[in-house]
Structure formats: structure tokens, C-alpha cells
């Protein structure tokens, strides 16, 4: 069964009198454990697609099945619960809460989900260790390097063990070396079974994915399976 199945997705924005079709008749299916890069020029609809996949936005038409469940018809609170349990977000600008420490930022999704403090502390400690942030637990974001910040963000995105990880230009604010490091980290997670969807317009990063979705004018231009395995340079 597909992890994600989009059928006939339409997303229309109204800008004044004119209608902008951000997504038109989009049909995509993604299986569990896939490594997908969504690519395309700006305005091609890739961010809109990511927002829809992350249940931050609703389509005007079409259905979205996540793990076999139609999530387009869910109420806002039910969608919030799905985001909490099944979806992890990674943003270009990290989106860490500046007043919270690394550990507190990682604990945030668990806190929102109402997980007890003891359990949170345990999982945060494990996550800090997994992402090599042990010594940075009590540092606030402004005391961390860009790479460390994104690692905190990745730790936060995965701490609820979601079904799918959505990364929006995860290396956009990082230098090449740090960016590669972050991508490798994400690929490791993918190798351990996490479905990974990356939005990027960096061809080099896109090429590393096993499957590339090329977007143009709100439609899928190409859907190619790459032969080169992920993680190979």
C-alpha cells in the first residue's frame, strides 16, 4: 500500500481578481521508505505541494490518502494530530524557537503531544546522542552553528517517529560542506526506513534522491527513478 497517494489534487489561489493554479490535476503516489526529491523552478508549485503533504494547507479538489486514510476531510484538530504523530518538518531557516535550548526545542513536539516529562527527557537524551549534540543540549539556537541548528531541527522532526519527513530546502541556509553533512544525516534516516521527501532546486542534491519529481506550472513534468543509489557520491 502507498504511504502517500494524491489523486486529482487542485490548489487555486485567488490574487485579487485573478486565479493562480498552483497545482493542477496532480496524481502522485509515494511508497513507504522512498527517498523523493521535488524539484522545479520557483513558482512551480513545489512548496504548495509540500504544504499539502504536510497538512498545513488543504487542496481545492482531489483526495490525499496518508497511510490509507483520507486526510483531506479531517477537521483542523484531527489534522493537527496527524501532523503531530505522522509528519516531521524540516525548514530551510530551521525554525527553532530562539528562547528555548536545543533540548527544549527537540522536546517541543512531544510537549505539544502531551507526553510526560520523564519520557520526554529520555527521548531527548537519546536524540541528542544520535545527532551528536550531547554537548549542546543547554545551548540556545543563537549559540549554535548553522549545521548544529539544522541537526537540532532534524532531531525535533524525528523525535515523534513520524511516517514521513518533509524537508523544505534543508540546505538552503548552509554552506556546501555543512549542507552535505545534513543531507547525509537525512539519507541515513531514510536508510533506516523513514520516508524522505526533499523540496530543493539544487540539482546536485536532487540528483542524490532515488526518485525525482520535476514540477512545472503546478503540474508534474517528469517522475524519474534514479539508478544511482542514495548516499553515493
Amino acid at each position: 500500500m502507498d504511504l502517500i497517494r494524491l489523486a486529482g489534487i487542485e490548489r487555486v489561489f485567488h490574487l485579487g481578481d485573478s486565479e493562480v493554479h498552483a497545482l493542477t490535476q496532480l496524481d502522485v503516489a509515494i511508497e513507504a521508505g522512498e527517498y523523493v526529491a521535488i524539484m522545479g523552478p520557483s513558482g512551480s508549485g513545489k512548496s504548495t505541494l509540500l504544504n499539502l503533504l504536510g497538512l498545513l494547507d488543504r487542496p481545492n479538489a482531489g483526495t490525499y490518502h496518508l497511510e490509507g486514510r483520507d486526510v483531506t476531510t479531517l477537521s483542523a484538530d484531527e489534522q493537527a494530530a496527524v501532523r503531530s504523530q505522522r509528519i516531521g518538518f524540516i525548514f530551510q531557516s530551521f525554525h527553532l524557537v530562539p528562547r528555548l535550548t536545543a533540548a527544549e526545542n527537540i522536546a517541543l513536539p512531544m510537549m505539544l503531544a502531551g507526553i510526560a516529562a520523564g519520557e520526554r527527557a529520555k527521548r531527548v537524551t537519546q536524540a541528542l546522542k544520535d545527532f551528536g549534540l550531547d554537548t549542546r543540549a543547554e545551548h540556545r539556537p543563537d549559540q549554535l552553528s548553522g549545521g548544529q541548528r539544522q541537526r537540532v531541527a532534524i532531531a525535533r522532526a524525528t523525535v515523534m517517529q513520524p511516517a514521513v519527513l518533509l524537508a523544505d530546502e534543508p540546505t538552503g541556509n548552509l554552506d556546501r560542506a555543512t549542507g552535505d553533512e545534513v543531507i547525509r544525516l537525512l539519507e541515513e534516516l531514510n536508510q533506516r526506513g523513514m520516508t524522505l521527501i526533499i523540496v530543493t532546486h539544487d540539482q546536485k542534491i536532487g540528483a542524490r534522491a532515488r526518485r525525482q519529481l520535476q514540477m512545472e506550472d503546478g503540474a508534474l513534468k517528469s517522475d524519474t527513478q534514479s539508478q544511482s543509489a542514495a548516499g553515493q557520491d
Binding site: N51, L56, D57, A76, Q85, F89, R99, M111
Partner: protein, 402 residues
């Protein structure tokens, strides 16, 4: 999200913007402190007046000659003018009433007091031995006027503390002879200093037996009759009985006024309570202003933290979770502000009491409760709008503003 986590999150959020938080806490604190200090002042004034009146003596009923002419001129007053005088016999008749414990007639005038080579003008009060107990005075030296026939007093006098100091500085006055007008009197006692009461400064009064005073001033009228009721519950009965007896003694004419300390007191009490409430109301306006400031601060907070709100939504926060977090923050600002203000207000009242020790400036309980409740509820009320705005934010748009 667990409640404890909501509170901790809100606390950290408030602590994350110290200046803004401090300012709104300060505004709330000033509002509450204003209510506490101003009501302390108002209620202090009330207590002060009540205490002053209570120091006149307890369960006191006072008889004045003449009808009280409240309500201006009216023809009935014009017809029944020239009220009959109050006499010592009137006072003696009142002594027999069942609800009356003690009666003291009071005749008053001024005269020169001449003793120890000094001369001064003094208020002379003619009364009886019962006056001491009725007014709850204390003796500094010697005794008060002796128990005697009211119409025939012994040639003795009791002087106030100030007169003693001025005429017999440093020494004992008891046993000394003084000349009062054309009389020679022996001082039998000196009163302890008490201050003003019943419109005269007791410290500057010479007390003599009522018979002597009336003879001195060549009159048989009384200035007042002071009556002490058997208990607080007897005050109304005393009023009724006194009015009845004097009416029958004065040819069926109601030509005296009977006032009770309670009535005067109740009027002042009511007046000053109203004043305190009015002052509290004015001060409460500052609480409303503080509430609006909290709203402003929260609106800024929501705008400033738009990106964070988007993130929280992306991480699975429900709308009501975000609303609760912002409400909790507003509530915390108000609560901390209210408690700080309460502390400041108590300190302000304390300073007032230190500066004016006679003035019992304590905030009334109702004002404290009202101030705290108003502070909290305005804070929460004005917190609703920003919190709802945060909860309804579109996550995609919110996330873009980072």
C-alpha cells in the same frame, strides 16, 4: 499539551521578552497599587473619624436644647420658637429611666482662670461626677468631681492637661487653689490629655460642679445632657424614653433634639465608605488601562511570534493549545502584575502609616479582592482577542514570516 507544560511554555515566552513583560507587569502593578493605596487612604479616613467619635464614649446619647432645624425655615418652626431650656432637674429626671445607665448634665461658659501668678482664659464646663465615666476619661492626678447633690456643688475643680502644664508647669496641681471668675476653687484632679471631642478641647477645660458653673454664669440652663445607655441595644429605647420624658416635662412640646453617636457615626461611615468606593472606582480605571496594555503587549507578542505559531502548528499544536498558551501568558502578566501591585500597595499604605501614625491606612478587604479580581479578569478578557488571533493563524502564512 499538558497544563503544566502550557504554563511553563507561557512563562518562558513571557521571560523571553523581559522589557515588554516588565512594562505590562508594571502597568498592572501600578493599577492595583493605586487601588490599594487610595482605598487605604479612604478607609483610613473612615476609621479615623469612627475612632474619633468612638472616643467620645460608648453608647452615648446627647440631648441638645431646641429642635434641630434641618430642612431650612418652615412655618412650624417659627411658631414654636424659644425652646424651653434644659435644666439640671431635666437631667435628674432622665436618671430614673430604665434604659439609662448614667446621666451627666453639662453647662458651659468661658471664664478667666487665675492661679500661681498666671492668668488665662479657659472654657468652664459644669458637670457631675458621672461625666468621667460617660466620656471614658482618665485621670492623670487626683480625682474627678466628687459625688454630690447636683444643685449644690463643692468649690472644687478638675483641670485639663494643657491648663495644668501652663499654670502649674512641672509640679503637682492637686490641692492648689485657683481663682475662676469670682470663685475660689481647689483643684482635686487633673485629666489625662485626650484631644478634641464634642467640639471642645478637653485639655483646655476646667471642670467644676454643675451648680457652681450655673451660679458663675448666672443661668440655670444646660448646654447638653449626656446620657449613657445600658448597652448598645438600649440606645433606641433611651432615645424614645428621653424624648418622651422631656416632652412631658416641657408642656408637651418637643423642643429638644436627641442625637446618638451611632447616627452621626453611621452617617460619616456611610459617607466615607462611598468616598472610598468612588476613589476605588477611579483607581480601577487604571486597571482597565492596564488590561488594554496587556492586550497590546499580547498583540505584539502574537505578531512577533507569528513564525513560532506557524511552527507550533506544523509540529501538531491544535488551535486551542495555542490559544491556551497565549491566554496563560496574558494571565501570568496580569497575575504577576496584580501581586506586585498588591505588595507595592501594602508598602505604600505602610509608608502612609509611618508618616501619619494616627491615620489607620489599611486597605479594606473588599478593595483588595476587587483589585486582584479586576486585574486578572481584565488581563484575561483582553488576552482573549490576541490569543484567538494566534490560534486562527494560517500555518503556511505564519511559517513564511520568520
Amino acid at each position: 499539551m499538558r497544563n503544566a507544560d502550557v504554563l511553563r511554555f507561557a512563562r518562558d515566552a513571557a521571560a523571553g521578552y523581559p522589557l515588554r513583560t516588565a512594562l505590562s507587569v508594571l502597568a498592572m502593578a501600578i493599577g492595583v497599587a493605586a487601588v490599594v493605596v487610595l482605598t487605604s487612604l479612604g478607609d483610613g479616613a473612615r476609621r479615623y473619624v469612627v475612632e474619633q467619635f468612638s472616643s467620645l464614649g460608648s453608647n452615648l446619647v446627647i440631648v441638645l436644647p431646641g429642635r434641630s432645624a434641618t430642612g431650612g425655615f418652615n412655618p412650624a418652626n417659627a411658631v414654636t420658637t424659644t425652646p424651653r431650656d434644659l435644666t439640671v432637674d431635666d437631667a435628674a429626671a432622665l436618671q430614673r429611666l430604665p434604659s439609662v445607665r448614667r446621666v451627666a448634665p453639662l453647662a458651659a461658659g468661658t471664664s478667666e482662670i487665675n492661679a500661681n501668678g498666671r492668668l488665662r482664659e479657659a472654657l468652664v464646663a459644669g458637670t457631675t461626677s458621672t461625666y468621667l465615666e460617660i466620656r471614658s476619661f482618665k485621670m492623670a492626678q487626683g480625682q474627678f468631681l466628687p459625688v454630690a447633690d447636683w444643685n449644690r456643688g463643692a468649690p472644687v475643680a478638675v483641670i485639663g492637661a494643657k491648663i495644668q502644664q501652663e499654670i502649674f508647669p512641672g509640679g503637682s496641681a492637686v490641692g492648689e487653689l485657683i481663682r475662676l471668675g469670682d470663685r475660689r476653687l481647689r483643684i482635686v484632679g487633673v485629666l489625662k490629655s485626650t484631644g478634641t471631642g464634642l467640639g471642645m478641647n478637653t485639655d483646655e477645660v476646667v471642670f467644676v460642679p454643675v451648680g457652681i458653673a450655673q451660679a458663675m454664669f448666672n443661668t440655670n440652663t444646660l448646654f447638653r445632657i449626656l446620657i449613657e445607655a445600658r448597652s448598645r441595644d438600649h440606645i433606641d429605647a433611651v432615645k424614645r424614653e428621653v424624648a418622651g420624658v422631656l416632652k412631658s416635662r416641657h408642656g408637651d412640646e418637643e423642643d429638644v433634639t436627641v442625637i446618638t453617636q451611632d447616627a452621626v457615626l453611621a452617617t460619616f461611615d456611610k459617607l466615607l465608605r462611598a468616598l472610598t468606593a468612588a476613589v476605588a472606582g477611579i483607581a480601577a480605571i487604571s486597571l482597565a488601562v492596564a488590561g488594554i496594555l496587556v492586550m497590546n503587549v499580547m498583540l505584539v507578542a502574537v505578531t512577533q511570534r507569528t513564525g513560532e505559531i506557524g511552527l507550533l502548528k506544523a509540529l501538531g499544536a491544535r488551535g486551542d493549545t495555542i490559544r491556551n498558551a497565549f491566554m496563560a501568558e496574558a494571565a501570568m502578566l496580569s497575575l504577576v502584575g496584580a501581586l506586585t501591585g498588591y505588595g507595592l500597595g501594602l508598602f505604600g499604605a505602610f509608608v502612609l502609616r509611618q508618616m501619619y501614625p494616627v491615620f489607620p491606612a489599611y486597605p479594606p478587604d473588599w478593595a483588595v479582592v476587587a483589585a486582584l479580581v479586576t486585574a486578572l479578569s481584565t488581563g484575561l478578557l483582553f488576552g482573549i482577542m490576541p490569543a484567538r488571533r494566534a490560534a486562527r493563524m494560517d500555518p503556511v502564512e505564519a511559517l513564511m514570516k520568520h
